[in-house]
Symmetry: C2
Amino acid sequence: MDGKKASRSKGVKTLGSGESALPSQSRRKFLASGAAVAGATVATGAGLVAARAEKIAVPPSNQEMGRPIDPKAYGMPSKYEAHVTRNRTDVFVNKQNWSDWSMTPLHQQVGIITPNGLFYERHHAGVPDIDPATHNLVIHGMVKQPLKFSMSDLMRYPSVSKFHFMECSGNGLTDWKAPKSKTVQQTHGLLGCAQWTGIPLSWLLDRVGLADGAKWLLFEGADGAAHARSIPIEKALADTLLVYGQNGEMLRPENGYPLRAFIPGWEGNVSVKWLRRIKVSDKPWHLRSETARYTDPMPEGKWRQFSMVMECKSVITNPSGGMQLHGPGLYEIQGFAWSGNGTIKAVDVTLDGGRTWQEAKLEDPVLDRCLTRFRFLWNWDGGPAKIASRAVDSTGYVQPTVADLEKTRAITGFVQHHNAIFPWSIAPSGEVANAIA
Amino acid sequence: MDGKKASRSKGVKTLGSGESALPSQSRRKFLASGAAVAGATVATGAGLVAARAEKIAVPPSNQEMGRPIDPKAYGMPSKYEAHVTRNRTDVFVNKQNWSDWSMTPLHQQVGIITPNGLFYERHHAGVPDIDPATHNLVIHGMVKQPLKFSMSDLMRYPSVSKFHFMECSGNGLTDWKAPKSKTVQQTHGLLGCAQWTGIPLSWLLDRVGLADGAKWLLFEGADGAAHARSIPIEKALADTLLVYGQNGEMLRPENGYPLRAFIPGWEGNVSVKWLRRIKVSDKPWHLRSETARYTDPMPEGKWRQFSMVMECKSVITNPSGGMQLHGPGLYEIQGFAWSGNGTIKAVDVTLDGGRTWQEAKLEDPVLDRCLTRFRFLWNWDGGPAKIASRAVDSTGYVQPTVADLEKTRAITGFVQHHNAIFPWSIAPSGEVANAIA
């Protein structure tokens, strides 16, 4: 991959930025290729004859009563979608303390909203079962008036709702220099996007009153690991939320029910779940999760702490590892781009392993620190190809290559914060595979 | 209620339109009122002492392992949220053919996304169980080339994802002139909002080729009622989608799995679910659902057909019928506004039954034909009040009163298309009740 930061090449612009997903010229070209698009059914005589003669089979579902409404059931997906689930990576689960994660099936997600039932999980000692009627949040330490808030206290505050991505700092840590994982669910699935509802932490800090010299906060969870992180006061006051809602309803247990921190654009583990305590101090705590974990090795042998911003990144989700293309023809390449530093300004796609790049179309709405879906129409000639995406955010930052990142960091072991360009290879057989190298 | 179309009064602007949900002045006022906001826990000595002494109880969930990940389960809400469900209105269910509906719990929804498990249902003969591997869509009639599409054919097309509301034309039909329903789930819950993913119908109509004189389409479902509607070709070509995705995943069975029409801004029943057939003609079909149902009585005794646009509307969801305010103090009034004709430009709130109006704050993003959440800070003095919202859309249309609507329509029986201003009364006891009159 050749993705120099300074020289983002301006390739041929295949898709326009107008209202339609496809400009009329591309669309006509696409629609003219019946076999590639509409598939075997259209191409066979049987399908056409049936339609032409209007001898349209009446399906069994038209001839019988359906299922009546279950008046008190929470709705579930069709039984035919039972294969769409979060996957756990059995290799890494620590059986002793159930420190574990499951991953979002990004290749099966449409749009930008990750359904709550498929939103990735990461926890260090399993999912606690918390009754909101007994849950409290205490704010104490260097404050003028320590206070305890019940959930009903918190939920009476005016609330805000914001669309943001959430990504684990360890997303992709198995796949830096050689393919270890097969699918995009495994390489990038510690990622999701939701509308989060809660209250700005600044309002509660106003209530308790910060003492002079207050510089850092401790967030601590009510889980078996008592997971905790140190947060600088500037970020807490700027845009940190305490959230109880996700995608229109209360948080799910595995994602922090009934209360979690939400720090927009930062690595997921600082958005402490099952939040029960915030302590104010003049310095960070240097917890295990800030020394032995969630740090970045640097070339000179030192480790970088508190590198919590998730920088600009993108990945192609369709086609992606483990999929199979069915012969030459037109395909729509799709994927996600996101940045912890702002909005996505552009995404380029390469079809030749980074030699040339072409601009993809971004789908509205393009929101601050939120997943943005990109689309790119590709006429595959059946030859070998190497596809990847490269995002640019509103600060001008261009998604780097692994080689770029290695200039300033040591890429050894399970390194966090992998936001490099990620390629998939397409074989003449149509097989799509992880091509990181 | 006094809500004249022509003279939308410009009341005091309580909330600003800046980045913060509350301007600093209002926010300080709100935050200063501890008892009203943070509730009894904060006001009692026990809570404060515990926090002050830092004798913070460690909850049981900190002292035990939580639930491990179920690697193949689709995630579900907490057991403590089991009361949040769609409600069926038992009064109206037709036991013979299971023509039925269930309603979205709007008062429990946060943000603008309606979770798929809580999205209202409406069907005429129960929910069919359709295997996507056997489902087809046929387009025939006045076309150059009738075609049959499998689901895999359709899902290989480039797709689009769009946020839009969906509302049943019968939403509110029980509550025009006197309170019949208690909660906002019952008065307005045939309403939801999602990100919908699918393909523009215009692309498929390009494929089959419209014959000269083609003017109307028939959409027919694969359910036991074979529900069908006639759709004018202009709307089909303009923005009608065939969708398979809702909020990031495949449609749920009760909402049309695996394929439905989606007609932005129009009444829900034209977005035919379980779509299996589109026939092209030069005139509408005048089906039972277009003569005996889904029509509007007019003052002169005639009935209006094909009135399918859902006009601008809003409702306060918090506080709303059946809720209880806990004494005088600051409350955040919240609700939804939406229009089938464009975006929401403004929402006004009245506290005195329509005598005076003040502008509410609209929460970003404000999207085309999508739910928009409004917020308004209210300092309740404990006296009787009558609250309501009034929306204005991007065409300049102002949400009318029932009296306004009655000037052009006959309000008798179960009348469709009730988009009038809807008031709730607040008693000095804090009880909130339906106040339509």
